[in-house]
Structure formats: structure tokens, C-alpha cells
């Protein structure tokens, strides 16, 4: 079996538990694939195959000592022996974590993030760290200080961002799944642009401990997976209260994988599916608009009740988001001061003032987008401006929370496009930050409202620059607070009808 890399986690896990394959076989398949494709795609910042073999061999020992049972039944977690890539924003003990920034060029983490700790408890196989926009600030992964990651559907295009390395590695089968983070759409938008499933849970479902902070009140870890079932498996492995993160909640953690497996299309019947008018405004690529309309018709055929809903404050969400996120970031990034770890500027003269140490370390260590956001955030929090910016943004956030609350009175689930455009060209938006910021226009209100949402591939549009080429289109599914189960069941029912992987998978 040489094409194991094509399989989903669910499929691989089942074969592993039946003892038809070994984790080491899966690993070899991915290594071959990575060596073939990653030099071009550049999803990985680094791979760690030594570690991967250790993990795979350990997983094989665990499985071989168990009975031939289905994953879960044997008490052995479904992720046992499954090779995953990790966005280089999660800390892993003893491993380099750069956050795609020069300022953390030499940073080896002395501790594990809770997500990675739980993955280790699930016997996963660590393949390597994948690329991102520096400090997760960006929508194209072009802000990485190290490399440009290519969209597997067209190497001239971006994979989206900031979890671009994660999305590209899953789309190109360079891993079985990937963990990313989503502050304003950083999991969902690249998932949409790369044709994979990207899920951002309710704020507080997954611990942020050991994840490098961008904007604490918006950041949430998420999963990028080949299909909805895999997303559910990955979510189950890491979700839940963590005493080290006081913003996690004691949610009831459901068996998301089991729920998804039991879901069928009958659940669509009578379901009130909300379409917010604000998500179909100007700026939306008409081809994407028409794909979403197709889904609308499909759902109608399946018996859904299509409901018009309104999110009237959507127009303020980009502004509110950028003020909140940059304000928090300006503070979160103060710890990168060259004193205790990371890059420290050294004067050639050997004589250094504290002030020059701070200024030059940060000036050299941070990239332009990060500096832009630190400056914006510092300004927004400054005396005399706080009320006009930060406080106003916090008020808008409350209104957006209410918009969704009202909308979910009328609809059980809300859907719309994930991104206004398909994958754009490398360099296309770098000169104009505002146009880049607008690529998250449909995703950021979800973070402001603390809600769960996912993006799933529902088709593709023609790639104008490539003969017979296509570019994936993502559907965004937004659920009420803590209703991941509902969201995943709905997505699975839609996925079963669309069969994106069969038609468009590279």
C-alpha cells in the first residue's frame, strides 16, 4: 500500500486497528509524499522524521498489544499512530517554535502546549511544524519570515492564512490532518482556499495554553482536516477545560466523531438554514456567490427551510476586529523584548543601552505587518484614544454578539461563503493591507461573537490562469454557541451530497 497518504484519519485508524497496516507504513508514505511535493509547496518550516518514527513505533506497540477492535472501542484513541502537522505557533517541548518570526529564530520551547500534550496522550505522530503568517497576522502566509507557501491547486497562488501551511499540508496530503489557530478566520479562510475542512470551535473549547498569543480574546485553536469526520475526531482529542487556561469552559465535551458518524441527510429536513444578506454583498466574487446559491438549492431539495437572517452590524466588524486584535496584540507582543529569550540585537561596539536593546531587537526581529499592527494597537489603547477606539470596538463586539443571538432565534444554523474570493495570486494583495484584511470579512464576526464555525469545500471555480485548473470554494457553517455537534452533523450531511474529495481532490 503506497498511497496511504490519500486516506483520511478515520480510514487509516480503522486499518491500523484491524492491524492491516502499521503506523510506520503510514509515516513512510507521508515522508515520500513530503519529499516529492514539499520542496515546491513549502508547507513545512521543518520536518522531524526522527521524532515521527519514534512516535509511530510507539503507536505500533500500543496497537499491537490491543485486541482487533474498532478505534475507541479498544480504549486506544483514534489518533494513535496518525501523522499530523502542527502550525508553528503551538509550543512543543524541546522543539523549535518560531511563529514564523525572526524574533523567535532560536527559540526552543521548554514546555508543551495543552493541545500538544493531549495529542501526545492520543499517541499522535509529529511530522513537523508548518508555515504561517508571522504571529498569525495575515491572510496569505506571505508574512512568514521564512518562506512562501504555495496553494496546492496553483503554485502561483497563496494558500490563505494565517494557517496556510496547515491548509496546504492537508490539501496536498503532506499529513493526515493539521492543527492551526483562528483569530479572525485563520483556519477557515485557508481551508476554503485549499479545499479542506477547517473548524474553529467556540471560544474556550480548546485551551490556549502554550499557543503563542496574537489576540487573546479572539484566538482559538482549530483543526484542518480532509473531511468532516476527521475534523470531529481531531476536535474530540483536544477539546475541553484546562486548568491552565482560565478562558476555557467546562463545556460538556461530546463524542463529536460518533455524532458525525451517525449523522445522515434526514437531519436537514425541516432544519432552518439562515442566509445572512450581509454575506452576499458587493465584493463577493460572483462565481463564489453562484456556488453558494447551488448549495442553497441543494439544501432546499433536501428539505431545509431557507431563512433570511440579518446581521446588521457586520459592516462594523472589520473595524472592530482590527482594533480589538491589534490592541491585544500590541500588549501580547511586549514580551518579545530581547531580554530573556529570542532575538537580541547586539551593538558592534559592545556598548548597549536598554533603550537601544529594546528598539533594535524589535525593529530587526519583527516583520512589517507585525510592526504595523503593534503600532495600530498601541495607538488605539493610548490615553485620549482609548474611548474612541478600543472601548467603541468592545461595544460593537457586544452588538455583533446580539446580532447572532437574534439570528439564531430564526435559524438553526447559518451559512454563507467563507472567503469573498478564491485563492489569489502571490503578491496580489501585499501592497494593500486593507484589501488583504477584507479577505476575512465573512469570518471575523464569528470570532468577535465567540461562536463555532467551519469551512468545508463545496465545489470549485475555474482557475482563469491555468488550463483545466480549478480553485476550491469554501462554505462557511456557523452554529450557535457551543453547538459543535449540530454544526458537524449538518456539515457531514452536506459533505455526503457534495463529494468534493472525489471530484476535485488533487
Amino acid at each position: 500500500m503506497t498511497d496511504l497518504y490519500k486516506l483520511t484519519i478515520d480510514e487509516l485508524s480503522s486499518l491500523l486497528h484491524k492491524k492491516e497496516i502499521k503506523s510506520v507504513d503510514i509515516l513512510n508514505s507521508y515522508i515520500k509524499r513530503i519529499e516529492e511535493l514539499d520542496p515546491e509547496i513549502s508547507a513545512y518550516l521543518y520536518t522531524d522524521f526522527d521524532e515521527a518514527f519514534k512516535n509511530a513505533e510507539a503507536a505500533d506497540r500500543i496497537i499491537s498489544s490491543a485486541g482487533n477492535e474498532n478505534p475507541g472501542v479498544s480504549g486506544i484513541p483514534a489518533l494513535t499512530g496518525i501523522p499530523l502537522s502542527i502550525k508553528d505557533i503551538f509550543l512543543i517541548k524541546g522543539k523549535k517554535t518560531t511563529c514564523a518570526s525572526k524574533i523567535l529564530d532560536n527559540f526552543i520551547s521548554p514546555y508543551d502546549s495543552t493541545v500538544v500534550k493531549r495529542l501526545k496522550e492520543n499517541n499522535y505522530v509529529f511530522l513537523g511544524k508548518v508555515n504561517l503568517d508571522e504571529f498569525a497576522m495575515g491572510s496569505s502566509t506571505e508574512n512568514s519570515a521564512y518562506k512562501i507557501t504555495k496553494n496546492p491547486y496553483d503554485f502561483n497562488r497563496v494558500p490563505g492564512g494565517s494557517s496556510g501551511g496547515s491548509a496546504a499540508s492537508v490539501a496536498a496530503d503532506l499529513c493526515a490532518g493539521s492543527f492551526g489557530t483562528d483569530t479572525g478566520g485563520s483556519v477557515r479562510q485557508p481551508a476554503a482556499l485549499c479545499g479542506v475542512v477547517g473548524l474553529k470551535p467556540t471560544y474556550g473549547l480548546i485551551s490556549r495554553y502554550g499557543i503563542i498569543a496574537f489576540s487573546s480574546s479572539l484566538d482559538q485553536a482549530g483543526v484542518l482536516a480532509k473531511d468532516v469526520t476527521d475534523a470531529a475526531i481531531m476536535l474530540s482529542a483536544v477539546a475541553g477545560f484546562d486548568e491552565k487556561d482560565q478562558t476555557t469552559r467546562r463545556f460538556e465535551i461530546k463524542d463529536y466523531a460518533g455524532i458525525v458518524k451517525r449523522a445522515d441527510k434526514s437531519l436537514i429536513k425541516g432544519l432552518r438554514v439562515g442566509f445572512p444578506a450581509e454575506f452576499f454583498s458587493e465584493g463577493l466574487d460572483p462565481q463564489i456567490g453562484s456556488k453558494i446559491t447551488d448549495i442553497k438549492n441543494l439544501l432546499k431539495d433536501m428539505g431545509a427551510v431557507i431563512t433570511g437572517v440579518t446581521l446588521p452590524n457586520t459592516k462594523y466588524s472589520v473595524a472592530a476586529y482590527y482594533i480589538t486584535a491589534t490592541s491585544e496584540a500590541s500588549s501580547n507582543l511586549e514580551r518579545y523584548d530581547g531580554i530573556r529569550f529570542g532575538y537580541r540585537h547586539k551593538e558592534e561596539s559592545g556598548i548597549q543601552t536598554l533603550d537601544s536593546l529594546y528598539r533594535k531587537s524589535r525593529e530587526t526581529g519583527f516583520g512589517n505587518e507585525v510592526k504595523r499592527r503593534i503600532i495600530l494597537g498601541t495607538f488605539a489603547l493610548s490615553a485620549g484614544y482609548y474611548d474612541a477606539y478600543y472601548k467603541k470596538a468592545a461595544l460593537v463586539r457586544k452588538l455583533i454578539v446580539k446580532d447572532y443571538k437574534d439570528a439564531f432565534e430564526k435559524a438553526d444554523i447559518i451559512i454563507g461563503p467563507t472567503s469573498p474570493t478564491p485563492a489569489f495570486l502571490i503578491g496580489e494583495k501585499t501592497a494593500n493591507p486593507l484589501s488583504m484584511y477584507l479577505s476575512d470579512i465573512y469570518t471575523i464576526s464569528v470570532n468577535l461573537a465567540y461562536l463555532p464555525a467551519l469551512s468545508m469545500p463545496v465545489g470549485a471555480v475555474k482557475n482563469p490562469a491555468k488550463e483545466n485548473g480549478v480553485l476550491p470554494v469554501g462554505l462557511q457553517v456557523i452554529a450557535p454557541w457551543a453547538a459543535e455537534d449540530k454544526m458537524l452533523s449538518f456539515a457531514k450531511a452536506v459533505e455526503d451530497e457534495i463529494k468534493f474529495r472525489k471530484d476535485y481532490h488533487i
Binding site: 514546555y111 495554553y209 502554550g210 511586549e334 523584548d337 489603547l381 493610548s382
Partner: protein, 498 residues
Amino acid sequence: MNSDIGSDNGFEAVIGLEVHSQLLTRTKMFCSCPNVFGLKPNSAVCPTCLALPGALPVINFEGIKLAVKAALALNIGINKKSLFARKNYFYPDLPKGYQISQYLDPVSSGGHLMIKTEAGKDGLKEKKIRINRLHIEEDAGKLIHIGNLSYVDLNRAGTPLVEIVSEPDISSASEAVSYLKALREILVYLGVSDGNMEEGSFRCDANVSVRRKGDNTLGTRAEIKNVNSFKFVEKAIEYEIERQIGVILSGGKVIQETRLYDSKENLTRSMRGKEEAHDYRYFEEPDLPPLVLSEEFINEIKNSIIELPEAKRRRYVSEYKLSEYDAEVLTQDKDIAFYFEGLIDTAKGGNADGGGLEVKKLANWVINELLSELKAREGEGRSMIEKADFLELISAVESGTINRNTGKTVLAEMLSSGKKASGIIREKNLAQVSDDKGIEDALKQVLEENPKELSDLLAGKDKLFGFFVGEVMKKTKGRANPKKVNEILKKLTMEKKA
């Protein structure tokens, strides 16, 4: 120097104090590192207090309890919902680049503290100092400068603090000290703080301004930092008041600034002006949820608050009929106060009439004998004697079994060996020789040995009475009851005269 210096020039001082007090928690405020002074540099640190990437704070509820306890004892209202905030500035001892503190909506606001003042024109000896707020925050680390290198020790980073901000109700340096002493006493009593100013666990910044008497508007204030003893607080404020009056009298204007007190030179120096003041960019700490305290939580703490020193002093005067001075001495140390009260209870428990021992006598024993013995042993680690044993000793002296001086020796021995008074008296044969026969024998011997003195005494030189008593004491190694010696000597001389 007169601490009411301003009044002479027609000026008055307006002073507000910001006190930072470390809390006696086992662990730091937002991580589980030990909260211990004096460890090897950077040995009590973890990802959170080192501010490593990805690390998050977790609220230490022991710290919240102590802060609420302090607030309740200081009559400050508790806010059931309060918020943590970030105070942002760059400094190497502040690893996150921000301090987690409270800004809007602190845990506690609006209270007061009664302080003693010199009896003023209105004759009042007490003054109410309003407290604006008490909030919870974390301490920074420490910088150590050696040569032209600077080292960072982050053991202290993240240590729990309460900041207690007074209203500008203080009008002199001596009042400021009185306020600080009262505050410190309460915090130490409650076990909230160790109050150690030298180690920096109790420190104070003073906001000082002056204005002409009768003027209702506040003058421009200077904030004095780095005052780490009561004496320095007093001196720094006195200096600053004089300096500001001097500036105004010479036609200048006081500028708003932060000044540093230099204890060696006894003066304050400008540290930074208003325009260089930090813009701390406070905002709500997004890593921590609002702090919500339940009624039960607050009540539980309220019920755990012990009688405070001021209340004890009042009670000692009214109930025990002690002098204010005695009450003051007995209540300065919480352990001593409780020991003293226990002593009274034990004495009463043994005997309905207080064991024949008046409270006043017990107080004297504690103040004059026990405290001085304990003081002599400071630093050796306090081991107290059982109350019943102490009472036994007191009874032995009061009943004349041993004399007062021997009592002191026995007390010292009890403290060092832990033995009981009766055992020590027996072992060392310390009991007073009170029987007439023994004393008479000793006295007769002394009289025989000193014929010249005896004839002088008989000739009317009464001064020699003391000489003979002293000789008897020598002979009995201090065990003779001096009263008895006197009696018998009188009797014998009368006989000889007759």
C-alpha cells in the same frame, strides 16, 4: 524637625499614600511558583512568570481571599464583580511587558482607617483617613546591577500584592507614618502580609502637595517613590513639603513629577516629569475572566477575621482595666495578645477568682518579664512556654516561694529548656528560705562575723540595716525572703538593745 512644618508659613500639606503590600500566599498570584523571599536567583520561575510565549495566568484564590480579608478589615467595600487589567510598560524586571493589575472596577473600593494623631487644635486624637480603593496586582522582578552589567532575578515576578490607595486626607508626615503603622499592623495581624519593609514586602509611594491654608483647590503634586521605612517616609515627606513651600515662596511653581527619595542625602530628586510619564495603556486582561465573588465567599472571610488590635486595646482598657500604655504593648504582637488572653482564661479556669492573680499582675508579668526575655532571644525562633507553666511560675513568686529575681532566672530557664517552674526550683534548690529558724541562724552568724558593724547599728546607724540584709542574702545565695530577713533583724536588734 517639626512635622507640621507647613502650618508655620501659612501653608498646609495634602498627602495621599499608595501602599503596596505583598500577600502571604504559598504561591504566586498567577502561577504555582513558591512565594518565598531569598531563594537562589531565578529558581522560583515557570513559563507563566517568565512570560514565555504561550503561557497564561491562573488566578490564585488564596491571594483573593487575603485581599478580601484586608479590604474587609479596612472597612473597604467589596465589589462582587471586578476586572483584571493590563498595565503596559517596558522594563527588564517586568517579563510580560505588562503588569496584571486592576484598574476600572477593582475588587474593593471606598473605605477608611482611623489613625492616631497628635492632639490638634480641635483636641481630637483620632482622625479618619478615607481609603479610595484596594486592588490586587502582581509584583515585578528585581534588577541587580554589578559593575556595568545588569542582572534580572524574576523570583519576585508574579508575587501577589495589594495596592491600597488613600484619599488625600493626610496632612503631615507624622500622620502619614501613623496611617502606615495602623495599616501595617492590621495586615500583619490578619496574616495578610509580613509587613517587612526592608525586604520590600510593605512599601509606600507618597503623593505630596502643598497649598495656602484656606485654599480649597489642590496644589500640584509630586509622587515620591522608593521610601522603605517609616523613618524615611517621615523624612521624605518633611523634605518634600519644605521643598514645595520653598519653590512657591520663591515665586516658582511646583511641577507634576515623580521624585525619588535619597535616604543618604535625605532629599528627593526628580525622576521623571509629567511629559515623560508612562502611558500605561490599561485595558481589560483578556486572559482572565471577570473576578466574581459570591456572598458566601465574602461572608466566610468576614467570619474568619479576628479581633483587630484597636478593638483589643479598647477592650483591654474597659474590660481588664489596664492602662492604655499596657494595652498598647500587649496588642502590638498578635501572638502575644492572644497568649495574654489565654493566660487570663487559664488562670480563671483553674480558679473562680482568677486564681488569685489579678489581670494587672498577669499583664505586668507578660510586659516586664516575658517580653524582655523574648526580645533577648529574638531570632532564635520563638518557642513559648505553656500558659499553665507560666502561671505556676507567677504563683511561685507571688506566694513568696521564690523571689522576683529568682523568678526571672527561672523564666529564662523555662524558655531555654522547656522545663516546668516547679522542676527548676526543686532541681536548683531555689526556693526561698522563709522559715524563721533558717533565717535567724544565718543572721546570727552574720552578726557574729561583723561585730563592728553590729555595734554601730546598735548605736543608731540605721543605714547598716541594708548591709546586714545584703550579707544574709549572700549567705543564702539569694534565697532568703528579704521581708523576713528585715523582720528578724529588727527583732534581734531590739533584743540586743534591751
